[in-house]
């Protein structure tokens, strides 16, 4: 009984540590994304509408789940996506940031909220 409790606490401490690391990772990715946005013109040009079914099919399961949720919602916060995927918000933020860095989705701060949306080609007609 006592032993189990001890292990429980230990696990909890490890989980807390993982979570803290994840938050730190997210902060680093945030900085990376911001730097990218500043240097947008210098970095290599990404394709027009980069997310399609075949690209989605080739993604690893955990990222596809996040990307599909963005496709279905159009625009959403990490919290909203986490509610739909039943995963922790910190985890979802990390996946969303990875998708931003890969150029598949975009990130935009609106007041206190940070929203993610699909990187689409311009609205003008051909």
């Amino acid at each position: 009984m006592y032993r189990q409790e001890g292990i429980g606490k230990k696990h909890l401490a490890i989980l807390e540590k993982i979570k803290a690391n994840l938050e730190k990772l997210n902060e680093k990715m945030d900085i990376l994304i911001e730097l990218r946005q500043v240097n947008e013109k210098d970095t290599l040009k990404l394709p027009d509408a980069p997310l399609d079914v075949i690209t989605l099919l080739n993604m690893p399961d955990h990222l596809r789940k996040t990307a599909v949720a963005i496709c279905r919602n159009g625009r959403a916060t990490a919290e909203e996506i986490a509610n739909q995927t039943n995963r922790a918000r910190a985890m979802e933020s990390s996946y969303l940031n990875q998708l931003v860095i890969m150029g598949y989705i975009k990130k935009q701060r609106k007041g206190k909220k940070t929203q993610f949306y699909l990187a689409k080609d311009g609205g003008e007609l051909l």
Binding site: P47, D48, A49, P50, L51, D52, V53, I54, L56, L57, D61, H62, R64, K65, V68, C71, R72, G74, R75, N86, R87, L118, K120, D121, G123, L125, L126
Partner: protein
């Protein structure tokens, strides 16, 4: 709530078009604002079924030649009541069909983002209650895109053994990739046991496919004879086909009826 409903099947001729059109008419009859689109570019059929005139097609929207409002045809006058019914048609000219069939991968990449824009505009901005996509059978490019975006897929199938087998494989090997909410409609059933109020039958089907059953539809000569001429909820309100359609619509609309397919649950557990 399921906003974007995609009607799909493994094989052709399972009743997707008839189901899409009549579900759209039914929701409009219930006072909803509904748009139905023909995503079957391989064999367009809504223009003939709905007998609607247009010069602007869904093809043009996907090709970025126009806005979605140019494509929508207002058919609300065909339905009594306050509801609204609009349709967007696939271009049935052989040249357009050929054009769609030979589009390269660059174009293919645009479709998903155009369909996302369509959904955002109609549901987010214009406050449509339902968008219904009638699709090509199997894993056609346009159908795959529709499945990815669907809030609910109504998967129609018949008792035909090659259809049953293919439908199951498509569910377990393709639908699970997207964790798509799916409800099954067994169409053109011949035996009397096959009723959605027969608990044993429902259990057997749901276990077999691992997907909730929305309804089982017998083969009706009048449906075949109508050749799509009628909007059943409006023109034949007392026909048993209409009655069963209402049951299916109820299951779709019931907010607490979660259409979580078994495969999907299993999938979640493993994450």
């Amino acid at each position: 709530m399921s906003k974007l409903i995609v009607v799909h099947s493994y094989k052709g001729g399972t009743g997707k078009t008839i189901m899409s059109v009549n579900l759209a008419a039914l929701f409009a009859k219930r006072g909803k604002k509904v748009a139905i689109f023909d995503l079957d570019f391989r064999a367009p059929s809504l223009f003939a079924i709905l007998r609607a005139e247009t010069r602007v097609w869904l093809n043009d929207y996907l090709n970025k030649k126009c806005e979605i409002n140019n494509v929508l045809i207002d058919l609300s006058s065909r339905i009594s009541g306050e509801g609204k019914l609009y349709a967007g048609l696939a271009d049935p000219s052989p040249a357009a069909m050929q054009d769609m069939a030979t589009k390269g991968s660059e174009w293919g990449k645009r479709v998903l983002s155009r369909l996302i824009s369509l959904k955002e505009e109609l549901i987010g901005v214009q406050k449509f209650d339902y968008i219904i996509f009638d699709t090509s059978p199997g894993l056609q490019y346009s159908s795959m895109n529709a499945i990815v975006l669907a809030d609910l897929v109504v998967l129609t199938t018949t008792g035909d053994c090659s259809d049953v087998n293919g439908t199951k494989r498509m569910l377990s090997e393709f639908y699970t990739m997207w964790e798509t909410k799916t409800g099954l409609v067994i169409n053109k059933v011949l035996d009397d046991e096959a009723r959605s109020n027969n608990a044993e039958y429902v259990k057997r089907i749901e276990e077999e496919y691992n997907v909730p059953l929305l309804g089982a539809m017998p083969c009706f000569c009048e449906v075949l004879k109508a050749e799509g001429r009628y909007l059943f909820p409006q023109d034949k309100p007392d026909h048993p086909f209409t009655g069963l359609l209402y049951e299916i619509a109820d299951r779709i609309e019931k907010k607490h009826y979660t259409l979580t397919c078994g495969i999907q649950k299993h999938h979640q557990n493993t994450v």
